[in-house]
């Protein structure tokens, strides 16, 4: 099997950096644009994310996830961290997405990469409310309070749907290696 880009990065192969930017630059840039207040913030975030990628490259385990998902996870972690300070809790296009019923936007055919197709399939296994909460939170960037306000669900119910939903997605995607949550907060 060919060596992964991240493993090449980890052992200091300089060409791997360019390969990584070519293959995943668009992904990271799109995630940063979606979760940042403006282009300047997105550019700063992308620089930080790639430093995180270089630092974490050696931790990549191809039996756990694809390279794409691993890099998306690192990006998301950094972006959430930045959001905590910026206190920006909503994505730019969420208003329109709310207007156009976000629960209908997990069509598998619409997804551009295999990981997103898998995620769409996983989401479609969930109850509609769980799917809606996960989309509003993860894709649109709304906080639990904002989801509660937008949907009229009690705050505890929003959290429960999110927890149970992510647990099921994790299992569906074969990422589950631990004991699941039992019970959880009552809806």
């Amino acid at each position: 099997m060919a060596e992964t880009i991240l493993h090449r990065v980890a052992r200091g192969d300089k060409t791997a950096v360019q390969d990584c930017l070519s293959k995943y630059g668009g992904l990271v840039w799109s995630l940063a644009r979606r979760m940042s207040a403006n282009t300047d913030d997105a550019e700063d975030a992308v620089q930080e994310i790639f430093i995180d990628v270089w630092k974490n490259a050696e931790r990549f385990d191809e039996t756990q996830s694809s390279e794409t998902t691993f890099i998306a996870m690192i990006a998301r972690r950094r972006l959430i961290d930045r959001l905590r300070y910026a206190k920006r809790r909503i994505s730019a296009d969420s208003l329109e997405d709310i207007v156009s019923e976000p629960s209908n936007r997990a069509d598998e055919e619409m997804q551009t990469n295999i990981e997103a197709k898998d995620a769409a399939r996983a989401l479609n296994q969930l109850r509609p409310e769980q799917r809606q909460v996960l989309q509003l939170s993860i894709v649109q960037g709304l906080s639990h309070q904002e989801i509660s306000d937008a949907t009229g669900m009690p705050l505890g119910t929003v959290k429960t749907h999110a927890r149970r939903g992510i647990l099921q997605v994790r299992e569906f995607l074969g990422m589950s290696s631990m004991e699941g949550m039992k019970g959880g907060t009552a809806a």
């Binding site: 950096v17 930017l21 940042s36 430093i51 208003l95 927890r163 589950s176």
Partner: protein, 287 residues
């Protein structure tokens, strides 16, 4: 180590992946991780990352200047890492991180080259100031000897007249009526928006938009563009009177394909990013 603690940790891990945690929750999770290190395997975050790629348009490449910057940062990073490895291969991860922060510092904006750039810019400013001063003196002397021309009187159009002129002259004007964002909480704002891409000009017209208390809030217009991930700030304004008002749109970026306009109530002065807590009206542009 109770089941309750274990359950709490799993809840925090899922909350972390979906919403992010507060400082207090981060501290709580760190404590629980000491008891259940085997539970923290990133699987929740990986699942959330997969969902985070839904509906993501990755066709736009990383901007070239940013790519160059990242590649340059990477070189510095790997240089600092390999240099450090030769000196000491036995340091802890924390020491490595500290050393990385020292050497790489993630403050490219304050590099020596940029300080040098500032110094050159400052020197250029001094030269420019001297040049402006001497030129101004020469112009003043010339002005004294030249008769002053009479200014041509200009007719200032009202916003209503300008709006009508735009509709009559621009061939690509789009027009859309305001409607409620949430039909279950109708605000009944009426009126319309007109916009011309070629002129990069437009107007919003309102009836029934409540007069706002300027000390507490202002209205802000947002333009949702198909080619922009973020909505474009269309300017802030106040509703000073109860009747019809017409406001020129003040787009802060070039608008290419507007698909929706929205008006929100924000704190005085407006905001860079709206929390979208109080959406007064939306106007969708027909395809």
């Amino acid at each position: 180590m109770s089941e309750q603690e274990k359950e709490k940790m799993l809840e925090l891990l899922s909350d972390e992946a979906v919403f992010g945690l507060s400082d207090a929750e981060i501290a709580e999770l760190a404590e629980l991780e000491k008891n259940f290190p085997e539970l923290n395997d990133e699987s929740f975050e990986l699942a959330a990352a997969s969902i985070g790629m839904l509906n993501l348009d990755t066709s736009e490449p990383l901007p070239a200047h940013l790519r160059t910057k990242i590649a340059s940062d990477a070189e510095k990073y790997f240089a600092s890492r390999s240099g450090k490895t030769e000196v000491s291969a036995s340091e802890t991860p924390a020491e490595k991180e500290e050393e990385f922060q020292k050497t790489f510092a993630f403050e490219p904006k304050r590099s020596v080259w940029q300080w040098l750039g500032w110094a050159v810019a400052a020197a250029a400013c001094v030269v420019l100031a001297v040049n402006i001063y001497t030129t101004q003196r020469q112009l003043n002397e010339l002005a004294k000897a030249t008769p002053t021309p009479t200014a041509t009187p200009q007719i200032k159009l009202t916003a209503t007249q300008e709006r009508e002129q735009l509709i009559a002259s621009a061939k690509d004007v789009v027009q859309s009526n305001w409607g409620d964002f949430d039909p279950t909480k109708p605000k009944n704002v009426q009126g319309d928006v007109v916009w011309s891409n070629s002129a990069q000009k437009g107007f919003v017209r309102f009836r029934n938009l409540p007069v706002n208390d300027k000390t507490k809030e202002t209205y802000q217009l947002w333009i949702f563009d198909e080619n922009q991930k973020q909505p474009i700030d269309g300017g802030v304004f106040d509703a000073n009177e109860a009747g019809e008002i017409i406001i020129p749109i003040d787009a802060k970026l070039k608008v290419q394909k507007p698909k929706m306009f929205a008006v929100t109530a924000e704190k005085p002065g407006g905001v860079v990013v709206s929390p979208l807590e109080k959406v007064m009206a939306v106007a969708k542009v027909s395809a």
